[in-house]
Amino acid sequence: MQACCEKMNSRQPEISKGIDWILLWVYVILVCIGITSIFAATYRNEPIVQGFLSFKTDYGKQLLFFGFSLVIGTVILLTDSKFFTATANLFYVLGMVLLLLVFPFHTEVKGTESIIRFSGFQLQPAELFKIFVNLALAKYLARIETDFSRLKSQLTAAALVVAPAIITIMQSETGLALVYFSFFLVMYREGLPSAVLIIGFSLAVLVIATLLMDPNVLAISLTLIALAIIYILRKQVRRNKELLVLIAGIWLICVGIQRFAVPFFFNKVLKPYQVQRIYATVGRDFPVDPKTMTEEDIKKVEDRKKASSYNVKQSKIAIGSGGFIGKGLLKGTQTRYDFVPEQRTDFIFCTIGEGFGFVGSAILLLLYLLMLFRIVFIAERQRSTFSRCYAYGVAAVIFFHILINIGMTVGLIPVIGIPLPFMSYGGTALITFTVLVFILIRLDADRQMVLR
């Protein structure tokens, strides 16, 4: 007992040692901006101080979550770095169990099936699981016996990431599932061939083109592109017949995706409303097919179509009406009077856009950019692979969240409900990001150590 206390005492001065203060302060500033925005969106003329301290208002609750996050953060800073490497796999397994427990025990809240609720407390394992995946992936990549240049290792790493993504999709949380794919950025950093990223990107372009263009026109254009490549490379082709086969193969795959894979994926895998959202983003009407859809589905699609186009429209009006310097705190008519739905959670960025205009929005984005670059900088100064991979994981997750969330509010990306890191209202999300950041700060404090 005595030893234990001595140990604690001797550690006390070490808490602040090696901490990256820049990252910590950017984190605090972002959370404070977030609470202010939630205040601006939900304030209804009640006494302000009481509103904050009663914890009954949304901004009061968020303040409470922040306090709670800081407690958790402090606990993490007090934890030994080795604890995270030691328990990474265990947490992954535990998290997976929790994730699977959702299926029998979930409560349906606003179309999502990913939440367990017990005695007034909500838990969304898919949100928390990002931490565990990040730790487990870092642990796997940092193993001495892992040779990431081998396909087997690459597939194992991918499986670690894709498995929870698939489970999350089954829980109707496409947005959260997409975030798991951000870990491919970590793998890229650790040696995943560039081709994978390029092919992934090309695939995305092809899918979007499929949505935008008439199928026949696209097929003809693809054929023309293939013929043009063959013509340009005709000398090489004459020498090497395999190249011709390769080009023909790629052409076949492209047309196959465009003709069969995308329609199959849209009709059988995705829910009609998700398809509709994707169509809405590229500015197309969803082609309602009465053969494959039930009446209920069609009605759902129509409702969603109205709702999501309304959301994006109102969100764009809110941000656009902010102008250069914005209308000021609590002066935004769009965000104050409920025109933008979900504005305290997924559409919280509108509050900044309307209240503080281009200047405010740009400053917020630059803060995020500062944070991301700082994390990448921190990642690169780590001695241990584990810490570096973990840091890149944090950067990738935060980056994806920002990209999808803000992209959605400004109408560049389909309406996919995921929170804006540190800003959106919600306990689970704030705590998740806090834990992600504080583990990073903890690991960074021990950057001279080699962790496995």
């Binding site: 890229y188 009077y337 025109f339």
Partner: protein, 709 residues
Amino acid sequence: MSVFNQSRQTVIRLIILSTFVILIARLFVLQILSPEFQLQAMDNAVDRKIIYPDRGIIFDRNGKAILENTLTHDLMILPTQLKGIDTLGLCEILGIDSAEFRQKLVTSIIKNGRYRPSVFEASLPDEKFVKLQENIYRFEPGFYLQDRPIRSYPHKAAAHLLGYIGEVDSNILRRTNYYYQMGDYMGLTGIERYYEPILMGQRGIKYQIKDNRNRIVGSFEEGRYDTAASAGRSLRTYLDIDIQVLAEKLMSNKLGAVVAIEPKTGGIIAMASGPSYDPNLLTGSQRRRNFSWLLTDTARPLFNRAVQGVYPPGSTVKPMGAIIALDEGVITPEYGYACGGSYLGCRRPIKCTHAGGGHASNLRRALANSCNSYFSHIYRLAVDNPAYKNTDEGYAKWKQYTNSFGMGVRLGVDLPGEKPGFIADTSFYNKLYNRSWNSCTNVFLGIGQGEMTASPLQMANLMSIIANKGYYYTPHFVEKIDGKGIGDTVLNPFKVKHEVTHIPDDVYEIVQLGMQDVVESGTARVAKLEGIAVAAKTGTSENYGFINGKREKLADHSWFVCFAPRENPKIAIAVIVENAGFGATWAGPIAALLMEKYLNDTLRTERLKEVERIAAKEIILPVVKQKRMRLDSIRRVKLALEMGDSSVLHNSLPESPDKPQIDVNIRRELPKPIKNNILPKKDSSKPSDKLPDTIKNAGVLRKDELKTT
């Protein structure tokens, strides 16, 4: 591994950076380059509410309000707040069943949505309002009472000249270049229309913030952009409401008009048109129904005969004929004509009511006896004046005279829809007679028949000119406008003095004395007043109308024009009673009573009996009544078919307290609405569309036919 360390971390940084550049560029486009979003946000959240000011009040010459604003009460409904409200109790008070309640509820939701209040029942009758006021706490907050100002005519008089307001239609919107908005009210007729910009005041605008469900949540920017409404300005008129009420009473049961003017100013003291109606019928909730009822009446109560009715003036123009001849110098006051009972100067003799006895031995005597021969003759003398080249020129000059007397031209009274009457010009005769006509062709003009019509207003104005000895001010109602503002120039035309002739006053004196003789010893002895010198002239004008498609001579119109006191004229009057025969029979006594009341401020008690006698006398052509009866019975059949109840056919319609009392004085059975309105609303706006052709053509052609010889 470290081989691609450097490059890959750079690539990742670039990916992040380029994403942020795209996002910021997008923000730049949305926030800096797209100003339309600001408008859309305003549209979303800011409600532009127009504040309607009180309309101006109209006062008579003694400062009595004759058109003012009163409050009516609407029952409002807020559909979202209906939970737990005793709607059954409300239905009981309103006297409706739950099916009707539901229908009204649905209508208001469709109209304004669930979150905004709508009118559930407009203009509650007094007893319902009192009951509701006591009980409204039981129905709040789903229902509440709201005041709404409406126009009210406290004396129930002067309907024609005051006019009424109504909702603007799309035509008016277009004409006014969308100054008004759908649902606005504006003056549609009468003074309400003529002085609309002054009476309506300045509308105010209030900007309010609304939320995503269109609920008002507060004022926008603490009202910084609001503009206050300023009330309409009140009008002070020359009208004497007591005279007006008396005039309308005297004209009841008759078709015709009365105009009384103050000669010195041109101010109109009274203007009545028979039949009239209670102007309050055209305010409030029953407006549409009452309007359609009045509109289809064959006696045409909405028609202001005083300025829109034109009649052959008959003998009442004789003083004018005398003045023209005097001014042209073709006669002197001593000029006489030996009339032997008819005028023989032209091919067909013109009969005169007198024969011999020197009844036209000079101008004064000819006027007193209304000698047709004398005035036919001096008309010819004026037109054939040797000073002019030929008859054409002579007639043109004569027409110019009549026009300067206000005949055949619009006087410019401050009422819309004034008719100019008719004086034919030379081209009219040239065309009609193929250029071969002379002073004999239209000799009837000398006695006010033929190609000549005038409105009662013009005749009253003619009396003003004679009373004033040669000048007049354009007849008008409004003396001044309270307060100052941009609309004041509207009164400028009424301040211009119109000089008509250059005849010396002593010549006018002769004409006036002649007219005084008419009262003292001539045809207008009914108009004699104790201690007041009255100058007058009677008239009996022949007229024709179409009855069942045939042109027929109708009973003569009864004219009477006068002014008094002769030396210091205070009032000039013109009265016409359609188809009432000799001028002194009905028109004369009416004018006499009005003069007496105005000049003495009161009527002697024995004269009150005379008022009742005249008011009770019904002078309406049988054909008008026949047509009206036919129209009413067709309506009744329609009603019976609608109700599926034949009992209405037997004329015994049940009385009801809210039955509109049409004050036409011509008693008619008004079919009682059984539920809602008798006629669907669409019908009532354009009743003629749905009626059979026989009814459409039922109105007697009242336009008095021109007499040609």
